[in-house]
């Protein structure tokens, strides 16, 4: 593919235009800004909880670029803020979720970052690990049954989810039926406090693919362009009858699991500091500047606009009302329904 002449060395842009590269970076920075805002709001006592995904920006923004809006379906997990933004979720919707306001997708019922939007092709999920994997497979089955070529499901999960029986059952079914689906593992090496070495007997999730009879691919999860490329290839294969793929993106969870977790109880500061040197956000900023895709000034402008957007979304969402007590009884079944009292 073309390499752009810039001030630095050439790089493999995998057919992405300057606009697309900047769009990826924008999602990465927005992801991080919104996420840090969640932690800040929690420390200010304004929201009870936030979950973290620092370190996942590259894989999520890259994979989202391979998603075709209005066509594909995303069945994410709770650490996919960047993926959700990348397929069209707005900062305001994120803030409504963090503040648990009435206008949130779930009307404040769910934990933050558990979205549900048919418009975006974004499935509702629970917090139960791997429970979404079989839903994704069911959706892919529906696409195959209806012979909807050109559509595919992208479903994501962490390394810990691969230990769940439901994950195995779902992946096996998709392989048996050659379904249009991509299983993307965001392997961040930690399941709350459990390191990968206590999660599985060998460290490579993608190696499980052969046992199911599907291609397995490993990619550097800190490289958004590489993540885009492998996801695009797998999604295209899925969209055109080539069956499922298991992708493993190796990344790292830089923050604690959530605001309720203190990672110092199970890993050292040195380990985290060491891994933060690979932080994909500044690395991709540097790359785009070096490649001449962005100037330093335009990068500053981008960051300023993201901060403004985050501030505005925060302020706007905070003023929205909470759900009312009577909302407890809505949307349990379709139509009128008599709660047992």
């Amino acid at each position: 593919m073309s390499a752009k002449a810039g001030t630095g060395s050439t790089f493999e842009r995998q057919g992405l235009s300057d606009e697309q590269l900047v769009a990826i970076l924008r999602i990465m920075i927005l992801h991080r800004t919104l996420e840090n805002r969640g932690f800040a709001l929690n420390r200010q006592g304004k929201i009870p909880f936030a979950s973290a995904s620092e370190g996942h920006e590259a894989v999520q923004a890259g994979a989202a670029m391979a998603f075709e809006r209005g066509k594909d379906i995303l069945v994410p997990y709770y650490r996919d803020l960047g993926l959700d933004l990348g397929i069209g979720l707005t900062s305001y919707e994120v803030m409504l979720s963090l503040f648990a306001r009435i206008d949130d997708h779930s009307a404040g019922r769910q934990f933050p970052h558990h979205y549900a939007s048919k418009k975006l092709g974004l499935y509702t999920i629970s917090s139960v690990i791997a429970a979404q994997t079989s839903h994704a497979v069911g959706a892919a089955y529906a696409m195959k049954l209806r012979k909807e070529r050109g559509r595919a499901v992208l479903t994501t999960f962490g390394d810990g989810a691969t230990s769940e029986g439901e994950w195995h059952e779902a992946v096996n079914f998709a392989a048996t039926h050659k379904l249009p689906i991509v299983f993307l593992c965001e392997n961040n090496e930690w399941a709350i406090s459990t390191p990968l070495s206590a999660q599985m007997g060998q460290p490579d999730v993608y190696k499980r693919a052969a046992g199911y009879g599907m291609p397995g691919v490993v990619v550097n999860g800190f490289d958004p362009v590489a993540c885009y490329a492998v996801t695009k290839e797998a999604m295209d294969r899925a969209r055109h009858g080539g069956g499922p793929t298991l992708i493993e993106a190796k990344c790292y969870r830089i923050l604690s699991h959530t605001t309720d977790d203190d990672d110092r109880s199970y890993r050292t500061r040195e380990e985290v500091d060491e891994r933060r040197k690979e932080d994909p956000v500044p690395a991709f900023e540097r790359l785009l500047v070096e490649q001449g895709v962005l100037t330093l000034q335009s990068l500053e402008d981008l960051k300023a606009s993201i901060l403004a957007e985050t501030n505005e979304a925060t302020d706007r969402a905070e003023t929205v009302a909470y759900p009312r007590p009577e909302d407890l009884f809505t949307r349990l079944h379709e139509g009128p329904w008599e709660p047992w009292q």
Binding site: E164, H168, N172, A198, G201, G211, Y212, G213
Partner: protein, 342 residues
């Protein structure tokens, strides 16, 4: 130098097994088939409500049983493991008590046939629920490791269908993480009731899953008791000595229907089965023993006669035993005295 030609004689790869051990394997195979067929006959006679078939699994089970060290190892079998169970020491009488659901059955007549449980034999209790016993086996192996009992291992068996269950996956993964002393032995008979392997998984080799867990995987001919013994004994030995788990796949075939309640002609043809029966491990091993001069025809005939006699005696003795009493319903719900909610 002049040599005496022995054209019919075959050299047997005996994997260190003595003549006596080879005969024991053969006897277990004959006994399994005899007992298995007896269960089906008793069902047709209306004497028992249900029986399960394991024809086609004889070589695999008798070979694996020979790799089991009695008084030391633990077996966590599934419901198609009649041959393995007698191979590690269960008597035909115990089998018949189970088939007749009598009070003296291991489970007091509570469980379906072929669901044994015997601490004496090292045989763990299990239900009819597929894969539910796999984590139990892993738990037992963890206990061995925790207590530093090297020299002991768990042998856990299951069919090909069970490998699709989430619990199977969770168990494999845990055993690999902790390098536990356990051997996962899949008796791949190609059919899960009516579901063929092609609808069970996306590629046909179960042993290939081992790599994804980080343990060795090996496939062998499950119609060959000696190849089975070789693979299982090496894996058990590795497990006993701290080398961690192994996934083994013995390829065999289910000749009979799933159970007396199943009609396999609804989902496969007579020709399929007839074709596969040509590989029937029981006559095949019989021929091998004859051709290798381990046994002669008379000895084989005598052994078959003895197996039939033992089966008949066990049948008659078990049938004469009483059923459990209605009051037995309340036994063994909890330890000690307890008050049922009424």
């Amino acid at each position: 130098m002049a040599s005496t030609p022995t054209p019919t004689r075959r050299t047997l790869e005996r994997h260190g097994l003595s003549d006596e051990q080879l005969k024991t394997i053969f006897r277990t195979m004959l006994l399994q088939r005899q007992l298995d067929n007896r269960g089906f006959q008793l069902n047709r006679q209306g004497k028992v409500p249900f029986a399960l078939g394991s024809e086609g699994h004889e070589a695999l089970q008798a070979g694996a049983a020979m790799a089991f060290v009695r008084g030391q190892d633990i077996l966590a079998p599934y419901y198609r493991d009649l041959g393995l169970s007698i191979g590690i020491g269960l008597s035909p009488y115990e089998i018949m008590l189970s088939i007749f659901a009598r009070a003296d059955d291991h489970n007091g007549g509570r469980q379906f046939p072929n669901h044994y449980s015997s601490k004496r034999a090292g045989l763990m209790s299990f239900s009819s629920i597929l894969a539910a016993h796999i984590p139990h086996a892993v738990g037992a192996a963890y206990a061995f490791k925790y207590r530093k009992e090297t020299g002991r291992a768990v042998l856990v068996t299951f069919g090909d269908g069970t490998t699709s269950e989430g619990e199977w996956h969770e168990s494999m993964n845990f055993a690999a993480v902790h390098k536990l002393p356990i051997v996962f032995l899949c008796e791949n008979n190609q059919w899960a009731i009516s579901t063929p392997l092609a609808l069970q998984m996306g590629q046909p080799n179960i042993y290939k899953r081992a790599d994804g867990y980080g343990m060795p995987g090996e496939q062998f001919d499950g119609f060959d008791p000696l190849a089975t013994y070789d693979a299982v004994s090496r894996a058990m030995e590795r497990a006993r000595n701290g080398g961690g788990p192994t996934l083994l796949e013995g390829v065999c075939y289910r000749f009979l229907a799933h159970s007396t309640d199943d009609n396999d002609m609804t989902y496969r043809t007579r020709e399929d089965v007839t074709e596969r029966r040509k590989g029937d491990p029981v006559p095949r091993f019989e021929n091998l023993l004859l051709e290798s001069d381990i046994m002669n025809a008379e000895q084989v005939a005598a052994m078959k006669q003895d197996v039939l006699r033992e089966t008949n005696e066990a049948t008659d003795k078990a049938e004469a035993m009483p059923f459990p009493a209605a009051d037995d319903l309340y036994k063994h719900v909890y330890e000690g005295a307890w008050e049922p909610w009424q």
